[in-house]
Amino acid sequence: MIEVITRTFTPEILTYLLGGAWLVIELSVVIVICSIFFGLILALLRSYDKFILGRLAGVYIEIFRNTPNLMWVLICYVYAPLPTAFLRCAFAFVLFTSATIAEIIRGGLNSIPRGQFEAASSQGFSFVQTLIYIILPQCFQNIVPTLLSQVITVVKDTSFLSMVAVAELMFRSRNALALLPRYTGQTVGIAQVAVIFGFAALIYFIINFSLSCIVRHMHKRRHAQARQATARA
């Protein structure tokens, strides 16, 4: 096995695979940042606009939450008006993820008592000021763990992009198997497949497990705080 590992991970193959891993991280960061932005807009519209825009946001969220991610990737890969494959795929993910994140943010907004709005307006805050200074900071503090779990989902789902030949980690792992005989002179057997897929799995696992450890830590801290609060009261 050790011989297979040393023969398989030549510098070329290793940089090729790690390049894929880097692409996964890049994609995820772009997707998550844009999705939080659009998701916030959608959530605010759905929560506070009772007329046409709020309804439209609701329809948007329902459509994207009930259709597969892969379908939007395939559509956007051909039709999104963006120059590169990277951006078109990121666009598909943003369309999809912003709907999910909108629902997460809406949950956070709902958990904040109505009285806060009334208190703020009695102090002369306008609606927008109330949102920016009072509601949203609390909302985001509450939903950070849920948002991080959504990041894990995004990192995993980028692997769907191997269908449209974006050279992310999963695509490159498959490709590396095809290239293996040429670069290393090995015939591909179960050992080589296990080593390459194992390496990809390890990278995904390291990224996601560290994220989920952070989530768990946050939950624990929150429970401890809640327990302290009840003990004091």
């Binding site: 939450r65 259709t67 892969l70 379908m71 990192v155 269908m163 497949v193 897929f197």
Partner: protein, 240 residues
Amino acid sequence: MIEQILSPACWLVFLADWHLFLQAFGVTVMVSIAALALALALGVVFGVMSTSHFLLPRNVARAYVEAIQNTPLVLQAYVFYLALPYIGVMMGQVSVGIFAVGIYHGAYIAEVVRAGIQSIPRGQSEAAASQGFTYVQTMRWVILPQTVKIILPPLVNQMVNLIKNTSVIALIGGTDLMNRTNDWATSGASIYGPPFLVCGVLYFLLCFPLSTWGRRYEEKLKKKDSHAGEELRKIEEELS
């Protein structure tokens, strides 16, 4: 794409092959049901294991959940489809889909079941034990029936995700709805609009009633039974 959706000529070409799409839709529905059955079975078994008093079953369940939840479904499907043939296990794309999706969502359902069991007060197990129930009997007749009411909303959520994730079959070249749509659109006349619209509507018809029912049920439960609603809120926070 919009022009194609509005063009009757494109629809005529598309509708000439409607039976292909119906058949592919049937595959997606069949895979969803089979994978759901597998996921529920695995979820209950591993969920119960992870609340066990013994270290071994608890750690086995933990390892299953962590390994599956932290790696992509696509990778797992590739392992089934590309790696297993080397050790003599050959499976068709559809069975790979059932096993990969079932095992993947089994891990998520195991977490839901675990959280549900932990929300039931310990006294219930002790009371059942004092009445001579064995461990399995306690789970089967006392604990699990009570969890169902609370864990139904997150469970339905997992079902919707499961249906959407059956599209992973497209990545290994199976003939589910997703791949059939993409194949049909990219080959020949390159008509994208109608097939993708129909594909989206079909997935939506599968998922939307489920997710709407789940949300309604959750709202009703929170309103009617504040204790159960509180437990559900805790479970959802823990699962997130």
